[in-house]
Amino acid sequence: MTTQSQELAVSANGIVKQYVNGTFTALHDVAMEVHEGEVVAFIGPSGCGKTTMLRLISGLELPTQGSLETFGTPISKPGPDRGMIFQAYTSFPWLTAKKNIEYGMKIMGVPKDDREKTAQDFLKLVHLEKFAHSYPASLSGGMKQRVAIARTLAQNPRIILMDEPFGALDAQVRWEMQEMMVEVIEREKKTVLVVTHDIEEAIYMADRIIFFTRNPGRIKESIPMEFKKGKRFKQKEEMFDQDGYAQMERKLFAMMREEIVAAAAA
């Protein structure tokens, strides 16, 4: 049992999360396993607890009950092994793009020379070499988010947690960011958990989708993206051409509609 659970990037069992002294249950009896190198998307209606689950894995919040482990270690607090990217822009406005990327490494005690070299590499990875010395105030929303992504990657986390990372961006930038992110995940071979409300985004980025339902928040279904046959696509069009893509999107839309109807009836 121990050997197997150590290979699991995330292992959750009987997770319950309650707020306001137990009067509100955000998550009820949630269990999941995420393997190393897997890209998993959490989707579901508002209030289904998908963001709460991500925050529990990050260690920013702790479960009321249940066991939650990452690579065999119980999660008790946040740490650089689980890098998090938020919907709100978190690139620090008082640091240049490059200094932002260096900041995470600075916290880890990486020597200055190494920091600068690595920061340069990651600036290139997120296509921001030209903006190394720009402050976030002069960058677009998408660029600010790329700074935050590079800062997280530069810490070399084992897991990347993304909470609606592209939710604040306009459609075209979001699409560019999704493709960039897939490219980055392929290169860096990371385990990624992404919370999104965008079905197409979830299908495009994830190897598997975990669908949450509400009242109380729990997992409805874990859906592997079998139609991709283990591939990740550099460009979104390639995905649209796959047999089974349309059926997958239809299935998820139907599931989401069911949730909306149930919420309206409640």
Binding site: G83, W94, I107, A137, T152
Partner: protein
């Protein structure tokens, strides 16, 4: 319009609506003084600012000459006040008084800042620390600083400590509340992002919360030092022999309105200079905060 009709050979009825529309377009571009969502341009800001000052001094000057001869000494003219100010500086050693007042103000203000800023930031960062301090500190804000004058006099006599103490108390509790607000307004995700990066609490406070809150804190300081100037005159009534307030109080006893007004004018000038100082500090220390400008 007449020019236009002359130049085009024929103006038919069908052209009329087009002409009319064009005239309406021109009309729409005409600038209105009271226009919503339309900030003044750089040049307009300067011109309108000077115009406003000019109107103020003109009304004052007219007021002076409109006052009957025998009452004019109670409303001296602009040139009398400016002349008095020059006289005070050249003949009465007013520079020394201004310096004393500045030392009192800046000394007590920076002492208050040295207490309020760390305290406010700590309260803003740590909820339990806030719960411990805030109820007690909030109450103090409702006590008028001037009501401490008798107490300060009993404790310290008509000394420098009493005067500085009043300025200190007048600023401290408001500044704490403002710094607390500024700190709590820091986007929570900055702290969360730093936590997920594995930063220690000390690092987060010093390297994330402080830089994030500092521009707003400097703004709060700018607002509160203005309050400090208002307490200055009160403080210098407390048995002061020097300082702008003391000079004004002495002049009041002899109904020297021009001296009083020169003192008020001087405080105004110093206030504006302080304001400019804080704005420059803001720009120099936080070049990254450009979106807040203009």
């Amino acid at each position: 319009m007449i020019q236009g009709t002359k130049n085009s050979a024929i103006v038919t009825n069908r052209d009329a609506p087009a002409l009319f529309a064009r005239a309406a377009d021109v009309q729409a571009h005409k600038e209105r003084f009271f226009e919503l969502l339309s900030p003044a341009s750089g040049r307009q800001t300067v011109i309108l600012g000077l115009l406003g000052a000019f109107i103020f001094f003109a009304v004052w000057e007219i007021g002076h000459y409109a006052t009957p001869e025998e009452g004019r000494r109670f409303l001296p003219s602009v040139e009398q006040v400016v002349g008095e100010l020059i006289f005070l500086f050249s003949e009465k050693g007013f520079f020394y008084d201004v310096l004393r007042s500045c030392i009192r103000i800046f000394g007590s203000f920076f002492a208050a800042s040295a207490v309020a800023i760390p305290l406010g930031i700590m309260m803003g960062c740590f909820g339990k620390f806030k719960a411990l301090i805030n109820p007690t500190v909030s109450g103090w804000r409702y006590l008028p600083a001037a009501s401490f004058i008798p107490l300060l006099l009993v404790w310290f006599g008509p000394s420098e400590t009493a005067k500085m103490g009043l300025l200190f108390l007048g600023v401290l509790f408001f500044l704490i509340a403002m710094v607390l607000d500024n700190t709590e307004a820091v986007q929570r995700e900055y702290t969360e992002a730093a936590l997920t990066m594995g930063a220690s609490r000390a690092r987060i406070v010093l390297e994330v919360v402080v830089p994030a809150a500092m521009p707003a804190i400097i703004d709060s300081m700018r607002t509160m030092i203005a309050v400090g100037w208002t307490y200055l005159v009160i403080a210098e009534i407390v048995g002061a022999s020097d300082g702008i307030g003391a000079v004004m109080m002495r002049a009041g006893r002899f109904l020297n309105v021009d001296t009083i007004m020169a003192g008020i004018f001087m405080i105004g000038v110093l206030g504006v200079l302080t304001d400019i100082f804080f704005r420059v500090v803001q720009r120099v220390l936080f070049p990254w905060n450009i979106k807040k400008k203009v």
